[in-house]
Amino acid sequence: MSTETHPLNPQSPNWLWYAGVALSGAVWLLLYRQLIPFSEWATALFPVERHSHTGEAIAFFLYDVPKVLLLLTLIVFVTGVLRSWFSPEKTRAILSGKREILGYPLAAALGVLTPFCSCSSVPLFIGFVSAGIPLGVTFSFLIAGPMVGPVGLGLLFGLVGWKITAIYLVFGFSIATLAGWVMGRMGLERYLQDWVRALNAGTISTLPEDRVTMVDRIKIGLDQVREILGKVWIWVVIGIAIGAFIHGYVPEAVMLRIMGGEAWWSVPAAVVVGVPMYTNAAGVIPIVEALLGKGAALGTTLAFMMSVIALSLPEMIILKQVLTLRLIAIFLAVVASGILATGYLFNALI
């Protein structure tokens, strides 16, 4: 009987993972460079004049769908890997010891980096508040998460350019920080649901920390790609179809009248339209691309995008479990004011 064992080289499977990631990156780049030739070739298959309204709309659609899906895959993967260094538990530990004034910007930054889905925003909210993190700081965290999420920023960069992405980042981050601070000043603890106020910090238990390898992080990234792309692709296609319609058919003169900077009501109207729109960053940014391309005012478009992404009715309904209606109304009003101010500011400046 042989007792000899063949010790597996623990390095070799890791190398396969890294090589796989590098190869996928190369394939990604190759595909990304073929976007324009592909969309032109595919558009030519349709029996329509390339520069007609329909031809323009088809070309926009066939260019944007693969482009957005490719960008999404990359962004979600990279974000998934980066976020594997963060967790709600760690974020809570960081925030609970901080002075309040530092807490707001820090919470907004961590809101961007901490992985959490809206389905666990209730336990997360309670976890923060019961650990003694001020309510305003918790709101900064909850606003920043969707508002300046990496998916939105990455797509905005890929579809619209770095200048508008930078503006969006700075203002989205400022709104999250300031809205939290304003709500912190208002002393809103009394408007939490009764049972939330009754909770105290004594109940926090902590998990033993796992050792996570780099390969585990890659797997987390891939898992995120599967999960998120599976969920949002339909919104992406719908968003691009709307964008393509705007790009092909809506005359610039009409766009300027509705979403130009002249009409005072265009910014609040953009917010009112944006809030009930149930989509996500990936679905709305192709629309934003088409709006800006047709000459919509930057402030109005920013206000529209921010209200779609940051203020969603389903999220409000989930939060109803922990917040009274009054508090939800205050939350909406404060964030909406920040968005309106941003919209008016940019319409005035540009």
Binding site: E89, F116, S120, V122, P123, D223
Partner: protein, 78 residues
């Protein structure tokens, strides 16, 4: 006899976790009652901030995302 609690609002991943726990228990031949906790208040009290969370005999072992199968078997047979 082990008592496993699964904390989650009823999202897709929470249901998948429940199935994974039941699978692992029957594979290991461990008798376990699997209980789903959906009340946000109870979830919070257990210290779970990202769902799905798992506790075995009252001790929290996992929070956030699907559990790793090998780790899950470890918790159940411990």
């Amino acid at each position: 006899m082990k008592t496993v609690k699964i904390f989650g609002s009823g999202c897709k991943r929470c249901l998948a976790t429940e199935a994974m726990v039941k699978d692992a228990a029957s594979r290991l031949g461990i008798e376990a009652t699997v209980e789903k906790v959906t009340d946000p208040r109870e979830i919070a009290m257990a210290g779970v901030m990202s769902t799905p969370g798992i506790s075995v005999d009252g001790a929290l072992v996992h929070a956030g995302g699907l559990p790793d199968t090998a780790k899950l078997e470890g918790w159940l047979s411990a």
